[in-house]
Amino acid sequence: MTVTPLPHLCIEKIVKRYPGQMALDHVSLSVERGSYVVLLGPSGSGKTTLLSIIGGFTMPEGGAIRIGGEDVTAFPPSRRPTTTVFQDYALFPHMTVATNVGFGLKMKPMSPQERKQRVQDMLRLVGLEQQRDRAIQALSGGQRQRVALARALAVDPEILLLDEPLGALDLALRRQVQEELRRLQRQMNRTFIHVTHDQEEAMALADLVVVMSHGRIEDVGTPRRVYLRPASRFTATFMGESTQITGRVAHRAGDVLTLETAFGTIEGIAAPNPGAVGDMPSSSTVLQKDDEAVAIIRPENFTFNPENKQSLPTATVMEMIFQGNYVRILALTDAGQELVLCLPPQQAPTVGTRIVPCCSVDDVVIVPA
């Protein structure tokens, strides 16, 4: 007999209203044990509210939160197997690094020796053994961040909640802490739920990206799938730059759609359902003939080699931005369609050049308008 593993965290039809605004509109989500989940969305999308509801700081008006099968919706934060790393770290300013990390352990049945050992282990884990007796005020932003992390992990939570933990760090430090977070999560094999508005951060960290907008989940999937085959126009726009061509579905053959646009037809793959797993999931059947739709093409999927590819209309290069390892090109077709391309520097045309961009059918995703 096989037992299907229960999802570790189960969010069921959570509803939360703020005056004049629906903060969360029947949000549901299942998370497997040991996965790194990133809630991604612009401010006001409800991601922070959702995290706060999982942690028990905010009460939902409807729905349930289950952790390991147990309904914890009515539990206060102290009774939940979760801990939170706050955006401003919320460290105890009157305690040393070690007493901060050991605070949560005072409520656990442990001997002082065990507690001391645990604090030592946690400090080693985040690389702050040398700073154990220092005051919080004497630490840098990155060090404070790591104290907050060690303090939250010391009590061995089942789920660690991180509220924009890298927001206050500079770019180089952010990259470094991203790697550390990922290493810690693998090493401890805990479920991490991380809120951010930075799509690059989401892609670097997540096993599962949850894209949110206006209190709803727009799309859920691996970073690769959500970037390359977004389920909606919002996801496509939020996950990075793209060329977007609006039109009407002229023909559907399996997963391949033919889109009738202002300058002719373009073929592409129909978008998957939101929440589709795998890197190449099957397509949604939502889009049918005569539906309004948008073709999404990522800038790196354009070439000038028409072999086995479809050609877009001729365009003029309007702007060229050198970005080091690639060149970003903004072009305009004669019919006024904007195109965004990324090319290696040596292939980049100069401003004013007439180009014929090409792309393969597989690299065009067609999402509902």
Partner: protein, 269 residues
Amino acid sequence: MNILSLRRALSWKGLGLLYMLACYGFIFLPVIVLVLFSFQDGRLPVPPFHGPTLFWYGEVLANSRLVAAMGNSFLVGVGSSLLSLVLGFLAAYGLARYRLRGRSLIRGFLVLPMAVSYLIVGMGLLVMASWAHIAPSLWLVGISHVVINMPLAFALCAAQFSETQARIEMAAGDLGASLPRILLQVTVPMMAPTLIAAFILCFTLSWDEFLSAFLLSRFEITLPVAIWGILRGGLNPQTNAIGSLVFFGVVALALIAEALLFRKKKNSA
């Protein structure tokens, strides 16, 4: 022309200086005279000054009635200030951390006694006590000082609760700490400078307070009431000596309070 404007500026500056000196003189000259004539070697604390001598300080400390009054004042001051602080702190915490209906109304009622004169507070308590057949005592004096000082303690504490501190308390709760533990191990230590300063201010006010202490005490009296009793018998360098002792004590406490509040501000800036 240049010299003229320079002279004008100087004379304005001189006038300002004079004005400032007059202000300080007005405030501090009586205190200086009081302290100076506490060292008077003679029976009257009026010029010309003879001395100095510590005789009158010896007299004060040998006067068992005065020493007992000092003890009473200390007891009432410490007790009423502690109670004011605990009540004011808890009220401020509750109002800062919980969403209550009519919050601003409650806050208004809490600070209202600040606007009521000590005479009214004392008389009101006296009427209440005689109606309940409670004889005037140090306990009643202490209660009146709590009525007077609790709003101050409340206002000082309430000003210190911030969103940042709320999140730090949330973090402590998230790690499994109960409310009493959060209050004792997180909130109180974080607010320690404010709490100490508030206690000292309350104590200073209680130590000085005459009107309600006079109305509400009978056999056991506080220091201001005892001083008043001596003053009724006429001027005497002994009263100057007590006055000086009280003045120096209060100044020391005020300086400590100031230092603590100032340090707190510098830290948070």
